[in-house]
Structures are given as C-alpha cells and as structure tokens.
C-alpha cells in the first residue's frame, strides 16, 4: 500500500476552525485542524461521529452552510491543475465553483440520497463535464458513458439513461465515483463512501477505488470510522476527536504504535479476529472487547483541556488545564497527548502492552 509519493504537497490545511452558531451556542465543530495531503497519496481521517470529519471536508469544499456556519480561522492551501497555490478560505465563490468538481471532487456516504432522483445518471455526470470542460451535451454524455464503463458498470450505454432509483446502492456509489472522477480531479474527498453498503459491496467499491487511484493518480482524502477500511486504504492516517486532530501518522505506525489514548482505545474496542487471543473457544469463558468508557462529548460543552480527558483512563489533573499541543513524535508521527512519551517508551510497537501503565500514575514497567 505504501507507494512512493512525489512528496509534493497538494493540500495543506493549517489551523482550520469552523464554527456553527446555533440557538444553544457556538459549536466548534472543527477547532484548529492541521494536516496535509501529498500528490497521489491516500489520507484517511478517522474519528467518532461528530468529531468534525465531515465538516472539515465540507470546509475544504467551502460547502458549509453559512449561516449558521462560519470559517473562523486558518488556511486551506491547495494547488490546482493550473499549478497555482490558492488559499481556499479566501477565493471568491466564482473561483471556488471552478475548483469544485474540477480540481476537487467529493463523494458522500449516502449513495441512496446523494443523487438527484429526477435526472438520469448520465445527465448528472454530464452536467459537471459540460460545466468544467465546456463540452457539448452530446460529448459530455459520451464522457459519462465512458466514466460508467470505467467504474465497472455493465452495459454503460444503457445505464447512462437510467435513473438512480433503477440502480442498487453499490451501483449508485459507482455512479457517484464516476461523477467525481469525470473531470479528473487532483483530489478526491470520499466521506464515508462505503458505510451504508453491505460488506460484499463495500469490498467491491474499495477495490474499485484502489484501482482507479492507480490509474488516475489522484490524491484521496478518505473519511471513515471503520478502522478495517483505514487499514486497507490509507497511506497515512489522521485521527480526530472533538474537532481536533489528536494523532497523525503513517498507517502502520498508527496501528502498531499509537501515541494517543483515544487511538489506542479505538483499536482495542474493535474485534480483531485475526488475532488468536481474541477468538472465543467453546467451553471457555468468552473474551471481552475493551471498550472506551463514557460517551462522545456534546459539541456544545467540550471540556476545556484535552477533549478526550473525561473518557481517558490515563488522564492526569493537568489534562484538563489546557489544550495539549500536537507534537511531532518523530518521523512525521504527531500526537496530541502530554503522555505520549510514556506510551512510546512502554511499548515501541504494541498498543496493547500499554495496558500496564496505571491510570493517572507512573509507568510501572
């Protein structure tokens, strides 16, 4: 999975803040998010529901409804097809429209509702082609047919004239992908593209995306909360919690040597059938999953310090004092925890070993 990338940064998000003014107060959905994507690379963003994954991606697309939304700060530096770097926070709406669908495309979680039910899929694909590439309707329809073929839809000449409701969920997601790729974007943002699909269909789609990326060479910002999918798709991973990036790093680093308690908790709370000790042997007491206690924080009443502090079993009193910095733990691996060094020391590559670090205490290794 780890390909050799040119190392050129396509998108750099620095200290991005997106707030929503609601009746009950200001929701800081994205509160100082920083990350970057290189050309041709797949960056996965994981995190719990409400952690700000979608808002981050929508902010990059400048599709946040304003009001109530508001970009409260930060920058989004993007180098488009024309090679000019722009700060997407500042560009005009007209310019942004040229970027959307052309330089950056997006596919969404709900394939069932993300397509307009009253237009044929061909129309919907051709629409963007006509807009961005100045093609005639007929040419654009040909492009649409080609794109459908490209994403593996059988009999595309026929399907191009069909309506979304005539297709299954997996097919619709393929149509979405075809639409997103129709203008050969430099960056594809995929917001949980397989969450609503069955595993067998999910496998089809993930397979498709991987193949397409190889062919087209675009970068992918892949948003999900399924760690299995992350493991399969990503080159690098950004872990978000409570509107902030809590950890960032190479996919293997993140899975093998997490430096943030939330990442560790997440990894522990999912079943790993491949690992012997997890499996249940008849006759013996069943094994248990390790759960992160507590609830996802209410975005209106985020804790003042580390947002994970109330659920963190390693929390120290100082954790609630101030927001910990996102520190580089070496090799581009970043973590937002004041105790990351202890975790690193305790276990160079196994998250599970960290269990013997006492709650709020010293490492008793």
């Amino acid at each position: 999975m780890t390909q050799q990338h040119s190392g050129e940064v396509l998108l750099a998000v620095n200290n991005l803040k997106t707030y929503f003014n609601t009746d009950d107060g200001v929701v800081r959905s994205v509160d100082g998010v920083t990350f970057h994507i290189k050309k041709g690379e797949t960056l996965a963003v994981v995190g719990e529901s409400g952690s700000g994954k979608s808002v981050t991606s929508l902010t990059v697309m400048r599709l946040i409804p304003m009001p109530p939304g508001q970009i409260a700060g930060g920058e989004i530096l993007f180098t488009g097809k024309d090679g000019v770097q722009k700060n997407l926070v500042n560009v005009s709406e007209a310019e942004m429209r040229k970027i959307r669908g052309n330089d950056i495309s997006m596919i969404f979680q709900e394939p069932m509702t993300s397509l307009n039910p009253v237009y044929t899929v061909g129309d919907q694909i051709a629409e963007a082609v006509m807009l961005h590439q100045g093609k005639t309707r007929k040419e654009a329809m040909d492009v649409a047919t080609d794109m459908l073929r490209f994403v593996g839809i059988p009999a595309p000449e026929k399907r191009v004239h069909e309506y979304p409701h005539q297709m299954s969920g997996g097919m619709r997601q393929r149509v979405m992908i075809a639409m997103a790729l129709s203008c050969k974007p430099a960056l594809l943002i995929a917001d949980e593209p397989t969450t609503a699909l069955d595993v067998t269909i999910q496998a089809q789609i993930l397979d498709l995306m991987r193949n397409l990326q190889k062919e087209v060479g675009m970068s992918i910002l892949f948003i999900t909360h399924n760690l299995g999918v992350v493991a399969e798709m990503a080159d690098r991973v950004v872990v978000m919690y409570g509107g902030r990036v809590v950890e960032e790093g190479d996919v293997i680093e993140i899975f093998k040597a997490p430096r943030h308690p939330y990442t560790m908790g997440l990894l522990n709370s999912i079943p790993r059938p491949s690992e012997e000790e997890h499996a249940h042997v008849p006759g013996q007491p069943k094994k248990r999953l390790e759960a992160i206690p507590g609830n996802v924080p209410n975005p209106l009443t985020l804790p003042p310090g580390c947002t994970f502090e109330p659920r963190c079993k390693f929390a120290l009193p100082q954790c609630s004092q101030g927001v910990p910095a996102l520190e580089d733990t070496g090799g581009g691996h970043m973590a937002r925890c004041i105790r990351w060094r202890e975790f690193e020391a305790a276990s160079p590559d196994r998250a599970h070993a960290v269990q013997h670090i006492g709650p709020g205490g010293e490492v008793n290794a």
Binding site: T22, D24, A291, P293, G294, P297, N298, T301, R311
Partner: protein
C-alpha cells in the same frame, strides 16, 4: 457484574419534554408571538363582548332614526374651552335629496360618556347577570358611535363585538368537530382495514368530489325550517364540520398506518400491550403535533368559509351577526359602503386580521414542532 458506567456528568437542566422544546422554539418566532397576542386579544374581547359593547345585540331607536350614523368624535373640552369629562354631541340626521346622502349635524345637546355605565342588561359568559358596560352615555338617543352605526342606527362597534363571538367560535368549533369525526373515521379505517377502510375512504372521496360550497348550500336547505336563528347557526357549523372531516380522516389514516410500522410501536406490542393501549398511548399521541399544526391552519380557512356562506345569506341572520354577514351587508351596499360609510368595511378587516393572526400562529407552531429544528 461490571457494567460500564458513564462517567461523564451531564447537565441536569436539560430535562425538556418536546412541548417545552416546541414552546422554546415558538418563543423565538416574533411574528408568531404577535399573532398569538392578536388572537388572545380577539378572543378575550369576544368573551367580554357584552361588557365592552355599549348596547345589546340589536338596539336602536325608532323615534330618532339614525341610519348609518357616522362615528362620533369624543370631546374633552366644551365649547367654552373648559376641560370636562368626555362627552359626545347628539346628532340629527337628514337625507339630502340632492345627493342622496344622509347628512348628520351635531346638536347642542351634550351627552357625557361614562365608564361602567348602566345600559342594556346581559349575562356575562352566559351566566352572570349584569347591566354595566365599559362605557356609554346612558342615553339611547345619543350614543357613542365608536365605529359608526349600521342602517338601522345600531352601534356598529357593538355589532362587531357580538359578531366576533360567532365568527371566532364557529370556525374553531367546526374545525374541532370535523377533526373529531375525521380522527374517529380515520382510526377506524386504519384499524379495521378491509371493507371498513374501503367504505370510509370511498365516502371521503365522494365528499371530496362535490365542491364544498355547493354541498353546504344543499345540505343547509335540508334542515328544519322553523328553528331559532342560533340553532340554524349550529346547523351551519355542523355542515361545515361535515364537509371537512374527509381530509382529516385521510391524514389520520395515513399517519396511523405509517405509525404502526414504527419501532417503538412494535416494541409496545412486543411487550404484550393490548391494541387499545398501542393505539392510545403510542399511536394517537404522535398525532397531537400534526393536529395542532393543522388545526391552526384549518381554523382560519373555516372562518373564511363562514364569511362566504354569509355572502350567500346562509350564515348568521337577524338579529345575530357574524363578521361575514356584516361584511355582506357592506357588500350589498356596494360602492356607497366605500364612499359614504367606510366604517362598514371594518368587519372585513377583523376577518383579515384574525386570519392573519391564525396563520402566523400556525406557521409558528409548524416550525416549533418541526423535528428538523429540534436538536
């Protein structure tokens, strides 16, 4: 056992029922609040109509004929410039045979305006006998015509106040009745299904296929001729209700069928709840919001229908009046109602205002109960 307890302490001031949430939303809607205020004032004044009005429903003099008396200015200074209590002059009327317009001239006779003046006896709320009115001159020949008079010389303000009792209640009552009928029929259809459903729904279609107004006109003629005008009004009300229940039944049926599929309803049956319990505890309550919102939109519609009936002479008849029937009199007067006695148009603006208020409130309620807005 080791249960995972949620360690996070939630704020406890969040205990809000959906009513409280709705109320909070409603409170935010300025226009709706103005509408609600307007309605409260209207209904209060209707409740106290006999007290607010200076006369009884149909009070005029046949000695001193004052058809279409204009509004009388209330004076505070007598001609000498001295400040006195409020008073009005008595007016005399003359039909100008050149222009055919009634001309009114003030006479010298001053009639002091008193508050809590004695006047025609009435029963407040239909029970408390009283004879005090908010204001009045205690002189039948020399009244305060706040909003002018009608062609018999009856105080128009008084008529409007009494008319408000009919106009404001007939719409509400008709809608309530039609909702009750509709809810019952709709529930029966949804609950029993099969031929019951079929018959009820066909009936609804039949009712819907005949234009409303014609149906009412036809139906009203069916009823016994020699009934008291008030009973007649109730009959009209019943007819109004009768033609409208179809739509309600259809909605209720649809909603109930949808509701039946909901998980929490299924959960109740899984617990072994009886059909009645499922119906009344789990299915019908979910319709309260739908009802509240629809009611607030149906009521103004039926107020308008009533005025349409008055236009056809089917609404309130002498001595009773509704805003619609008063307005119809203005309509019969044609352009003279505009040029010679514009005050007869006032009932029209009461209708407009009431409908406006109801609509604003309806809008506010719809937004307040809108699940999209609840978080």
């Amino acid at each position: 056992m080791t249960t995972v307890t949620s360690t996070q302490t939630e704020k406890t001031n969040h205990a809000q029922s959906q009513w409280q949430v709705a109320w909070k939303q409603f409170r935010r809607n300025r226009l709706a609040q103005w509408g609600a205020l307007g309605l409260i004032l209207l209904y209060l004044s209707a409740l106290f109509a006999p007290f607010l009005a200076q006369d009884s429903l149909s009070s005029y003099s046949t000695d001193n004929l004052v058809p279409n008396h204009p509004p009388t200015p209330i004076h505070w200074r007598d001609p000498a410039g001295e400040v006195s209590g409020p008073f009005v002059y008595r007016y005399t009327q003359q039909l100008n045979l050149d222009t055919f317009v009634n001309e009114y001239k003030p006479s010298d006779e001053k009639c002091p305006v008193r508050f809590f003046a004695k006047g025609d006896p009435y029963k407040l709320f239909g029970i408390i006998p009283m004879d005090r009115h908010l204001f009045g001159t205690e002189n039948a020949e020399c009244k305060v015509y706040l909003m002018g008079g009608d062609n018999l010389g009856r105080d128009f303000f008084t008529r409007i106040m009494y008319a408000s009792q009919i106009s404001l209640t007939i719409g509400v009552a008709a809608v309530f009745i039609s909702y009750i009928i509709g809810a019952i029929m709709g529930s029966l259809a949804a609950f029993f299904g099969g031929w019951v459903d079929n018959v009820i729904m066909r009936l609804v279609e039949v009712l819907a296929s005949i234009p409303d107004l014609f149906l009412i006109i036809l139906l009203v003629a069916l009823f016994p001729p020699n009934v008291n005008p008030l009973v007649r009004l109730y009959i009209v009300l019943g007819m109004l209700a009768f033609i409208n229940w179809g739509g309600v039944a259809r909605t209720v049926r649809g909603q109930l069928l949808a509701e039946r599929e909901k998980d929490h309803v299924m959960a109740a049956s899984a617990l072994g709840a009886s059909n009645g319990r499922v119906m009344f505890r789990h299915m019908l309550p979910s319709m309260t919001t739908l009802f509240i919102v629809n009611l607030s939109i149906a009521i103004p519609a039926s107020i308008l229908t009533e005025s349409g009936l008055s236009f056809l002479g089917i609404g309130a008849v002498e001595p009773y009046a509704s805003w619609g029937s008063l307005l119809n009199k203005a309509q019969e007067g044609g352009f003279s109602s505009f040029t010679d006695r514009p005050w007869v148009l006032i009932p029209g603006f009461f209708i407009v205002f009431t409908v406006l208020c109801w609509q604003l409130v309806g809008d506010g309620l719809r937004d307040a109960f809108d699940p999209r807005k609840r978080r």
